[in-house]
Symmetry: C2
Subunit: 435 residues, 2 copies
């Protein structure tokens, strides 16, 4: 009886599980579609890239399909398909880098493999396999080790990989057939065809330039930091509220590796848009590094956004103004980078605000202030803001350097965020508000 | 006459340039050798890895060399060489992940490609190429887009790439020959042989476990932060000196992507050493994220290492003790992770120091203090240290969670850094020093 009840229970739970399959599968499909929609909406270039890969692959497949080409290229033709699949990357720079790496490495390794094979055959039948095995072993060890060199890893990692592969295939296959030169030649020409298809589609169909992305990301990060500081200026010591801009800051703090990857790709790209071939991409990394330095100082400010501290009105105004001006200066710097216009004297307001902060630091506020729960957060924020101003100045100097390296154009209209320069910002403002 | 002088000049500078070639080449060689020596000395596993790749590649080349194997495997045998070159990665996890990805993707794409080919041939000669072209295009678009899904990118990126490649090769080559099943079977078996050679050499010859690396790196980062805080405790407000530990901090701040990569690899690894197959690697990422949070708070302290501020003796002692205790707590937490021993009550001293800090924050030091150039940095450092203590507590909680998730062993001996717990740390100490 109990067994039967149990069996009924098992059958029932099995039934529940069975009936759940279409529901679960449906939910998974919906989740999948939702995620796909989100990715495509966030960056439509990803969807376009997928179609570009499909296009290049279908184009190259024609080489494989039509009889005449098939005969002359033979099995090697699949190298063209393989090249497209492996070489076609999201940005032009990455595709070009991989294509050039693959082409040059195949050429170099083919020649060296041929040499190794010739050297081995000269020594006679007994030594041949031993020598070839030795060559394969030695080049694999040396090339694998070279891949650990930071510079090689950054730019030529894929090339060295293809070098090892081609050297092995050429020197070993040489043992089997005398058509080694023809083999190497075929392989190289199919690779060139595949890589050319990738590069052409990549450049001429909705190109994605890594350089442009790097440029935009660096400007966007500075802008984000500016937005945060402006928001902080409005909200510090006023209302306890969860900051919404925090996520943006984390993206800045963790942006190092993606920026470096973009810079490596950008160096492969030909001139495009406003960028020359040898655009100073390294300077962008320097600016980005200083931006992160600044973000490290800004991040601790979060703790004071949610604090319950209510600072006196005048103190709050100095701090608030300081933060706003830093934010404004950063946003103007972001605008400078984005539009590639020579920087204006956008720091004047920042300097006034900074002077105010210094006079606050030296003022007798501290002696009058009895409430220690106000002194500590105010002092901490003032100290952080002081550091932030130094960071902003360093960013401004680096952008100034970039503007001369990259020949930024002279401004023909003032930046959109220019504020009226007043002699002594805060006092004037409080006077006008009191009048 | 002038022309002659010029020509002599040109010849001379050409001569200088020519003579410089061996010197420059020699210098480049020396630089190269120096860099290679440094890389090998920093991490000898990189050199060993190079020899492992050479070994695996030479082993697989035997498959290509010996006549009987050559006959049965034919051109496909080069797939084995290719698999070794592409699949063999530095850590076991990465190699296993790529091997499994390559194997499964080849199997799945082979089957689907076969199905697509069959479907196309059924429709007749005219439709066949169009249908196959359509299939290739659609699967390339869909698969390329799926590679953008974060979860797929993290674990199956290589598999999807191989899927596209194999699907194309199988469905297109089907147009040419009827040996498609034999082709797919051969290709799969050679890939399995190549991947197996990689996995066997990777696991049994000086294995490099990504999980072990992740474990060590997480512990090391916590330890570094602790070392910095202890050093800060010794040096803050005492002597202006360039901090030597700054580089270490930057490595922590920028460690996110390498840690995530290691965690992705670690999930492929079988149990090894103290780690089970399903070790909670995600918890390590959580701990690392909290460590970075803490490092963001610690980084601004650098500004006060070099400062000229001379705080009064008692204040300096509170701050110094607070920093030292935070550092000590972190170092003990690092020890806990490293040795996988259940955490002890290492926070007691931290709590005492934290209480001291809070009493400093509430003390009348601020009212007595007239020198504003002391108040601000002291308040800023106190405020940062206060945040740091919260971070340390969060790290401790996350490590506690890890210790139950991963079944850390009970401590059989006390951690090496245990300090004597006194009732009210600072006062006791100053009493004993005054007595």
């Amino acid at each position: 009886m109990i067994m039967e009840v149990e069996r009924v229970g098992v059958v029932e739970s099995g039934w529940v599980w069975l009936r759940a399959i279409p529901v679960n599968a449906g939910a998974a499909m919906v989740g999948f579609a939702e995620q796909a929609r989100k990715i495509a909406a966030d960056d439509p270039r990803k969807l376009i890239h997928s179609f570009k890969v499909g296009l290049a692959l279908t184009l190259v497949s024609l080489f494989y399909y039509f009889q005449p080409l098939y005969t002359s290229f033979g099995v090697s033709a699949m190298w063209a398909v393989m090249t497209v699949v492996v070489v076609f990357e999201f940005s032009v720079g990455a595709t070009l880098g991989k294509g050039v790496n693959r082409g040059l490495a195949t050429l170099a390794a083919g020649a060296l493999g041929l040499g190794a094979h010739h050297l081995a055959t000269v020594t006679g039948k007994t030594c041949e396999p031993i020598l070839i095995g030795l060559f394969v072993f030695l080049q694999a060890v040396a090339a694998t080790f070279i891949r650990f060199f930071p510079r090689v890893k950054a730019r030529y990692d894929y090339g060295v990989l293809i070098f090892i592969l081609t050297f092995c295939l050429v020197s070993i296959s040489g043992l089997r057939s005398d058509e080694i030169v023809g083999f190497a030649q075929k392989r190289f020409s199919t690779i060139v065809i595949g890589a050319a298809a990738c590069v052409v589609v990549s450049i001429f169909v909705y190109p994605v330039w890594a350089g442009q992305d790097l440029h935009n990301l660096v400007a966007k990060n500075i802008d984000k930091l500016g937005t945060f500081l402006q928001a902080f200026g409005d909200e510090c010591f006023t209302r306890p509220e969860a900051p919404e801009t925090l996520v943006g800051l984390h993206a800045i703090l963790d942006s190092k590796s993606s920026l470096e990857t973009l810079a490596n790709f950008a160096r492969w790209e030909p001139g495009h848009g406003a960028f020359m071939y040898r655009h100073p991409w390294k300077q962008y990394l320097k600016i980005a590094s200083l931006t992160r330095q600044c973000a490290y100082r800004v991040e601790p400010l979060n703790a004071y956004l949610n604090s319950q501290t209510q600072a006196p009105q005048d103190i709050q105004e100095i701090i608030s103004r300081m933060s706003s001006e830093s934010g404004k200066a950063l946003k103007e710097l972001a605008w400078t980078v984005e539009t590639m216009t020579r920087p204006d004297s956008h720091e004047s307001n920042l300097r006034i605000a900074s002077k105010n902060l210094h006079s606050l630091i030296k003022s007798d506020f501290w002696e009058d202030q009895k409430d220690i729960s106000v002194v500590i957060p105010v002092a901490a924020v003032a100290s952080l803001l002081n550091d932030i101003v130094s960071c902003v100045e360093a960013i401004a100097a680096a952008i100034d350097e970039l503007s001369s390296l990259a020949n930024f154009k002279q401004p023909d209209k003032p930046p959109p965020l220019v504020s009226v320069v007043v002699d002594d910002g805060l006092k004037q403002e409080s006077m006008s508000s009191s009048s």
